[in-house]
Amino acid sequence: MNATETDYIKPELMACCGAREIRDGDLVIVGTGFPTVAANIARYTHAPNARMMQESGVYDAQPRRPALSVGDPCLNPGAAFIGSLIDVMGMFLQGCKVDVGFLSGSQVDKYGNINTTVIGDYERPKSRLPGSGGANPIGLLARRVLIIALHDKRRLAEKVDFITTPGYIDGPGSRAKWGLPEDQGPEVIITNKGVLRFDKESKEAYLESYHPDSSIEEILENTPWDLKVAEDVHETPQPTAEELRAIREIIDPMRMITIYLKRGYV
């Protein structure tokens, strides 16, 4: 059962890293792509009672094809509950029912702050990004936040240009200053090179594991801050046969996950 496979692609490994953060019974708010794949891997392996919701108002959808947006038609038939944004973002998320949220962004910094608003100056943007959407409340209100990012010096940052979604803001104590629970917030940054976990004390992301084809050195080189390395740093466990079977036979038989290769997740 736990035999590993070596013929996987990087997005599959990353999705497995996400899945392993999900506990049985967790309520997970997901977007499309990685989060859905990760949460589904968890459901089909160690967390059969994990349940997903989408901010559009859907809980426990039963899609027959991978959803391409959080409002995708395939989320409608078979769901357990369909309501409004207020139901999911207000009643479930702000009502503190959500265990896990997934986020990604054009910039992520060492305190887990995420920028999806603007690169450069806000008033005179070099590059205008989509904005918060559900990211800000998910980052503030989900118990555990899992961040997906491309590992390079442009996407990872010492400090983001704009904090759309606060992680630990300026470090220890910052969340409390804003009345946010200190024991919530980002858990990990899962990149295409490794897994960075947030230190409970310093609130800074450190290197927990490097993916099989990467290395500590490569990761340090591609991280724009002085990245701490865990004492027990190790290679990221490869996907198990069971995990890969879940991805390929159940969750994503059309292999839509391969679009992440084109987006640089190699």
């Binding site: 391409l68 369909i82 944004l85 559900g134 503030l140």
Partner: protein, 311 residues
Amino acid sequence: MSKVMTMREAIAEHVHDGDFLFIGGYVCRTPFAAIHEIIRQGKKDLTVTRSNAADDFDMLIGAGAVKRFIATFLSLGVYGLGRCFRRSLEKGVPHKIEIEEYTNLSLPMMLMAGALGMPFIPVKDMVGSDLLQVKSFLGEGKYKVIESPFDGTPTLLVPALNPDVAIIHVQQADENGNAQVWGIEGDCKWGANAARKVIVSCERIVSREVIGKDPSRTIVPDFQVAAVVEEPFGAHPGYTPGFYDVDFMFGSLYQQASNSEEGFRAFLDEWVFGVEDRNAYIQHYIERFGYAQFRGLMAEFDYGYPVSYAY
């Protein structure tokens, strides 16, 4: 007292330059027929809002109809980024819109507050973010932080929104405007009821009797509604549950076209200015892409179980 009219009449009569519009939809039930008509009629200086805006908002911005945008997000999702939105904010093309930014929690709460006659509403998001640092046309009225009079906790308050007009697309409505939906709701119910009047675009007009067979599905009562437009495929290239699927081909076509200003203008010329109404649009679609492609969008039949309200 039927309020049934054409989309041309509804937009001409009920949407005015400078109005504040809520436009419903969430990929699901986007009122695209209305969006095209607004552009065709050259409406301008609009303030627009919705949580998670997409191609319809991008198009309105590219067409120059929008002055201000109360926003949470604008992206074309799987198709790519909203190029008109970016050109406006990055390059001022066709002009730079003013943008006031919230999130997919706070904005729906502001619309709900508007619908429920509340002056403001407390929310738990945005704190600690730069969303509180930037203020645009709402100025100091964007939000307030108070100490809760109950326990002293710092509490963020955001103002209620009451748009002049809401435009929504629904599965069915009667001729007076009682509007029914099922499936993903987005912020449609609260946004529509927060507005001073509602334009209801629908897949089918049904009798008042049909509405009364399942009144729990009604999200907007007739007295809120100014116009009812029967507009089958009115959400295309978005979808309507039970009627038709998302048209990924066409969504992608728009994204490709809108990558350049020229492409965007050509798209409008073909699909908005080049057709006089929704019928002509669908006719053109079928001529251009074939009936088989069109037919492929139509929903399967998978009906649920009827219920009784009797006693």
